[in-house]
Symmetry: C2
Subunit: 604 residues, 2 copies
C-alpha cells in the first residue's frame, strides 16, 4: 500500500535534470503523468511541480522486481526512481524542458498508488468547475493552476521584499475585533467567555493601521486576510487578501510614487514587462466624462463625447427631455461597426436598458456617407451632419447615444464601450494599461438613505480648496482619494486621512453621525487622535485581483488554492456545516428558524 | 487644530540626520518627546521610530510666528520642522545616535496637538499593563515596544525570504473552514446563507497543507493566523501566528536541516549571534530521563539522576513504595545550595507538591562532609554514602529526590530544576541554547478518556521499527515527531506524516475512530490520499514565541501590536461586544442564558 522512501533521497526535481547530467545517476520522485509499454520497454512521464521528465524501464537495467512494478504503474501513482541520465533515444521532444534527455531507471519504488481520478490532470481543463472544486486537491495538480499559485506566491514575496526595502514594517493586526452597529456585512464570532457578546472578522484593518500611524510606526504594511459577508459575485470571496499599507507624513504624491514603483517591480520581475512611470493620472471627473467609468479600461479608445450642445435644439424628444431634466446626451463611436446587423444592435439596446437607459439611439454611417439612424426622422439633415461631425464619425462607423441623467448616461455608455471592445477583441490580456484615478468625490448621495454617505470612508481627507463648500455644496467636495486601475479593474484604492479633529468632527456631522454614534463606532480612534496624530495616507490592493490579472485568469478562484463558491460554501470540505448542540450551548446561542418562527429551536 | 503638511516634505527620519549633514537644510517630522525653554532658547527633543533628534528654536532664526508656536509645544505634539543641521552647541550627548548634532529651526508647523497622555512615553514603563493596553496606541509609542515590533517584522520578512530561496511556495489556506465534531476549542462563525450551519476558524492549516502536498506543491509555507478558544495562559492568545511549512519527499533529516539553517539565518541577521550547526538532538526518552522535561532548558546542567538501584534495599518507605509500584527514585544536585535555609527548602517542597509529589526528600552535604537529610534516619550510613556518590555530590551541595511514578518524578524534578536555576540566576536571556527533541511517543494514554490519544496528531508517522508493536504495546511505539526547543520553550514542532492508507487506517482504529467518525472528520483528506500522495513532513513555529525570545520579552503580549488579555477581550476596543438583534436574526441565531434556561431569549 505504498513503500517507504527511507534510504532514498531526491536529487533533482524533474526539470532540474538537464543534458549537463548525462551519464550521472539521479533520484527523482513525482507523479506518473502517463505510462506506456512499447514492445517490452516502459516509458513513463514523471510529473512534479517543475514539469515533466521521461523515464525508461527495461528489465535488463532495472531488474525483474522493479520492472514488474513498472508494469503496474498507472496515472497519478507516486514513485521514486533511481536511474542514469542519457540523451533521449527516440529523438528530442521540443515541447518539454527535458525533451532532449531521459532517465534510464535502475530502481523503482511505488510510494503511493492511485485510483483513477474523476477527471484528467491536464492544462486548460474542460471539466466543469463544480467537479473540479469538489476534488480541488486534484484540480490543483494541473500545471496551469500550479503556475498561477507559484506566481501568486512570487507576488506576495516580492511585494514584501520591496516594501521592506522602502522602510515599511510588517505588522499584524487582530482579526477578532469588535463589531460595529453598521457592520451589516460583518462575519460574527460568538464569545464563549462573554456570553451574548461577539467578535467580528475585519472587513479591513483600517482603524488599526491608522492607530499604528498614531503610534509612530511611520510605514506599515500587511498582507491581511479580510472578510465580507455578502452575496458573492464572480470576483468576490467571503475571505480575501489585501496588500494593505499606510504611510505617515505622506501626501498623495508619496503614496502614488511608492506604489507605482512597486507595480513596476512586480511586472518586471514576474512578467518581464516594463511599466513606464509615472503611471497616467486622471481625475474622477475626467474618467467619467471620457470613459463613463471610474475604472476605465485604457486598452482602447472609443471615448464618450458630450453632444448635448449639438442636439440642444433638435426635435428628438428623448434628447430634449434628458437635457430639460438637467441630464446630457452623449455618444460613442464604434468605428467600423456601421454594418452591425440589427439583431446585434438590439442586443446592445437591451444591454443599455439593463444599465438603466430608457433606450439607445444609434446611427450607422453608410459607405456612401448617408446616415441610417433610429432617430433621423426627428433630426434636420444639418443637425444630423453636425452630430456626425461632432462624433468624428466616418463612413462605416456606428454611433450610439444615451440621453438621461449623467449617472445613467455614464453607466450605459461605459458598459456599452466595454461590450463593443469585447466583441471586437480589443481586450488583450497581455496588454497592461495602468491608470491612477484621483480626486474622487468625498461624498455620494444615497437616495435610499436620504443622506450623503462617505464614498471611500469617513476618515478620507477632503481637498483643501473644496472644504469651504462642505455646507453649501457637499456633493462637489473632492477627496484626496485615489484608485489604481488596471485594464478596467480596480486593483486597489486609498486616500489621505483626516488628521485634524475639527475636520473629522465636521465630516462625521455631515455623514449624519450623532456624537454618541461616532463615539460608539470609532471611539478609540477618535480618542487616539487626541494624543498627537501625524498626517497619514494609505492604500490597499486586492491581492486576488492583482494575481488574477497578472496570470491572465478569468476568475479569482483560479488564483486561490481553496476558494468558495457563490453561496459561500466550500465544495471540497462542505463547510459550513451544522455543529453539535453542545458547542452552541457553550457559546450561549441557539439556532432559530429564519422565517418568523423565532424562539423555536431545532438544535436539540 | 492641526496644520496641513502640504508644501513640506520630510527629508530625513530623526536619526538619519548625521554629522554628514552639517550645514544642510533638512525637514524632519515627529513627536515632541520633551521641550524646554532655557533663557529664550527652546530645546525640543523630536522623536520618531528611528530615535531622537534635538531641535533648537531661537526667534532670530525662525521668526516670530514659528517661535510663538514653539513656545506652545508640549509632549506628544506632532510637528514638522525645517532647519539647518549644525554641530551641537551644548556638547555631545553620547546616549543619542544624533548626540553630536542639532537642527536649528527655521520654520515650524504644528501638525497635531496632544492632550497630556495618561502615562509617560518611555522605555521600560512601570505603568501597569491594564492601563497600557487600554491606551495601546500610546503604549506602542514606547521605543522598546517599537524595537520589538520592528524585530518581529524582520523575523517575518527574513523567514519568508529564506523559505522562498529554499524552494518553498507561500500559499494561503482558508480561515473559514468546517468545524469538526471534536473541535471543542474551535471559534465558530454562523453562516448567513446557510441558516443553522457554521464555519470554524482554523486551529492550524494542518489538513490543507497536507492536501497541498497531495496536489504536488512540494514545499509550502505560510505565516498563518490560527485560533484557539481556550482559557488563556501567559503565553497564549485567542489568535496567534504560525510559521507553518510542509515538505514533500522529505524525511526527518530534511525538515531538521532546512529549519536549523533558517534559525541560524534569523539569529545571525537579527541578533548577530552564531548558532553552531547541527543543533543538538536528543530523543524524547533521553530528555525526560536527563531533564524531566520534553523541552529541557539547556542553559544549565543540574541533570536528573536515576538512583533507583542505589536505594533499592533501603528502609525508607517512600523510596521503597515508589519502586514497588513500578516507579522510580530520581534526584537532582543543586550544587552549592547546601546551605539553603529551611524556609526556602519548604517552598521547594510545596512546589513539588504542586506538581503531584507526595513529598520531597532532600539531603544537604555539610562543609565537613556530613549529610543533613530529611530521611537519614531511614538510611544506613553506607547507603547514604552510596547515594551521595551516585549523585556526584560534594561538600556544600543540596540533593533533592522525588520518588513516584516516572511521570510524576519527571514533572516534579523537571520543574524544581527550573525553579532552582531561576533562584540562582542561571537563565541568561542572551544565551540561546537550541535543542531538537525527537522520537516522541506516538500515543499517550488518557486516563480521562480511557484510551490512547495521538500525542501529536492522527497523521503522524510511526517509526518503522516500532510499528509491529502497535497492537501489543501501543504506548511503546515512537513517532517521527520532533520539537525545536529554545531555552526551555517549545518554539515549534512537527512530524513526518503517514502517507500509506493501511497505516493511516490502523492508526485511526487504535485511536478509537469508527469508520464513520473518520469519514466525517477527515473524509476529504482520506479521499485525497486515494489519488497518489507523496511522503511528506512538516513543522510549525509559534511566531509570537520566536519573537518573544529573540527580543528578550517576558510575554508574547510584548511582541503583538494589539493583544488580548486573559479573558480574551481587547481592553482598547472592548471587543467582544453585544450586537444588534437584527444582525443575529440575519444569522438565524439567538442568545440563550448560559445556565439551564435554554430557549429563553434575551436578545429581543
Amino acid at each position: 500500500m505504498g513503500e517507504s522512501m527511507v534510504g532514498m533521497k531526491r536529487s533533482h526535481r524533474c526539470t532540474e535534470v538537464t543534458a549537463a547530467n548525462i551519464g550521472q545517476e539521479v533520484t527523482v520522485m513525482g507523479w506518473v503523468q502517463k505510462s506506456r509499454n512499447k514492445g517490452g520497454i516502459i516509458f513513463v512521464d514523471l510529473r512534479d511541480r517543475s514539469g515533466i521528465l521521461q523515464l525508461i524501464f527495461e528489465e535488463s537495467d532495472c531488474g525483474e522486481e522493479s520492472f514488474a512494478k513498472a508494469e503496474k504503474l498507472r496515472s497519478e501513482f507516486v514513485i521514486a526512481v533511481k536511474g542514469v541520465v542519457e540523451a533521449r533515444s527516440g529523438g528530442v521532444n521540443e515541447n518539454l524542458a527535458t525533451g532532449a534527455i531521459e532517465v534510464r531507471a535502475r530502481q523503482l519504488r511505488i510510494l503511493s498508488e492511485s485510483e483513477t481520478p474523476p477527471f484528467p490532470i491536464e492544462e486548460n481543463s474542460r471539466t466543469k468547475e463544480e467537479l473540479r472544486l469538489k476534488y480541488r486537491y486534484l484540480d490543483l495538480r494541473r500545471p496551469d493552476i500550479q503556475r498561477n499559485m507559484m506566481t501568486r506566491s512570487r507576488i506576495a514575496i516580492l511585494t514584501r521584499q520591496f516594501l521592506a526595502e522602502e522602510g515599511f514594517l510588517e505588522i499584524e493586526t487582530p482579526t477578532l475585533i469588535g463589531s460595529t452597529p453598521e457592520g451589516a456585512r460583518d462575519y460574527l464570532v460568538p464569545s464563549r467567555v462573554h456570553p451574548g457578546s461577539f467578535y467580528a472578522l475585519p472587513q479591513s484593518p483600517q482603524l488599526f493601521k491608522q492607530l499604528l500611524m498614531c503610534s509612530g510606526y511611520d510605514r506599515y504594511f500587511q498582507l491581511a486576510r479580510c472578510y465580507r459577508d455578502e452575496d458573492l459575485r464572480a470576483d468576490r470571496q467571503p475571505e480575501f487578501t489585501q496588500i494593505d499599507m499606510e504611510l505617515s507624513f505622506a501626501d498623495v504624491e508619496d503614496v502614488l510614487d511608492v506604489n507605482e514603483r512597486l507595480l513596476q517591480r512586480l511586472f518586471k520581475e514576474i512578467l518581464n514587462i516594463d511599466i513606464p512611470l509615472p503611471i497616467q493620472r486622471m481625475t474622477w471627473k475626467e474618467a467619467m466624462d471620457r470613459f463613463g467609468s471610474d475604472k476605465p479600461d485604457m486598452r482602447f479608445g472609443m471615448e464618450l463625447k458630450n453632444v448635448s450642445q449639438v442636439v440642444r435644439d433638435c426635435e428628438f424628444a428623448v434628447f430634449r427631455d434628458a437635457l430639460d431634466n438637467g441630464g446630457s446626451v452623449r455618444g460613442i463611436n464604434a468605428e467600423g461597426q456601421g454594418g452591425m446587423p440589427r439583431k446585434k444592435i438590439d442586443a446592445l439596446v437591451e444591454l443599455a436598458r439593463g444599465f438603466g437607459a430608457k433606450g439607445l439611439a444609434y446611427a450607422a454611417i453608410q459607405e456612401d456617407g448617408t446616415v441610417k439612424s433610429s432617430f433621423s426622422k426627428f433630426m434636420k439633415e444639418e443637425e444630423m451632419t453636425a452630430l456626425v461631425a461632432a462624433m468624428g464619425a466616418k463612413a462605416g462607423d456606428l454611433l450610439l447615444f444615451a440621453a438621461d441623467k449623467d449617472k445613467v448616461v455614464y453607466d450605459v455608455l461605459g458598459n456599452l464601450r466595454l461590450e463593443l471592445a469585447r466583441q471586437q477583441n480589443l481586450l488583450k490580456k497581455d496588454d497592461f494599461r495602468f491608470l491612477w484615478v484621483t480626486e474622487f468625490p468625498l461624498l455620494e448621495y444615497s437616495e435610499e438613505q436620504g443622506r450623503f454617505m462617505a464614498m471611500h470612508h469617513p476618515f478620507t481627507m477632503p481637498m483643501e480648496e473644496d472644504w469651504p463648500m462642505i455646507d453649501t455644496d457637499p456633493g462637489a467636495v473632492r477627496a484626496k482619494a485615489y484608485d489604481i486601475v488596471l485594464n478596467g479593474t480596480e486593483l486597489g484604492g486609498g486616500s489621505v486621512r483626516i488628521h485634524q479633529a475639527d475636520i473629522q468632527e465636521k465630516m462625521l456631522e455631515v455623514l449624519g453621525f450623532t456624537a454618541e454614534q461616532a463615539q460608539e463606532q470609532f471611539g478609540f480612534l477618535l480618542k487616539a487622535f487626541q494624543y498627537g496624530v501625524p498626517p497619514h495616507a494609505g492604500l490597499a490592493y486586492g491581492l486576488d485581483r492583482v494575481a488574477m490579472l497578472m496570470v491572465g485568469a478569468d476568475s479569482i478562484r483560479d488564483v486561490i488554492a481553496f476558494p468558495k463558491v457563490k453561496d459561500a460554501s466550500c465544495l471540497m470540505t462542505e463547510a459550513p456545516t451544522p455543529v453539535d448542540h453542545k458547542q452552541l450551548e457553550e457559546l450561549s446561542i441557539e439556532i432559530v428558524k429564519p422565517e418568523g418562527q423565532e424562539g423555536a429551536s431545532f438544535s436539540s
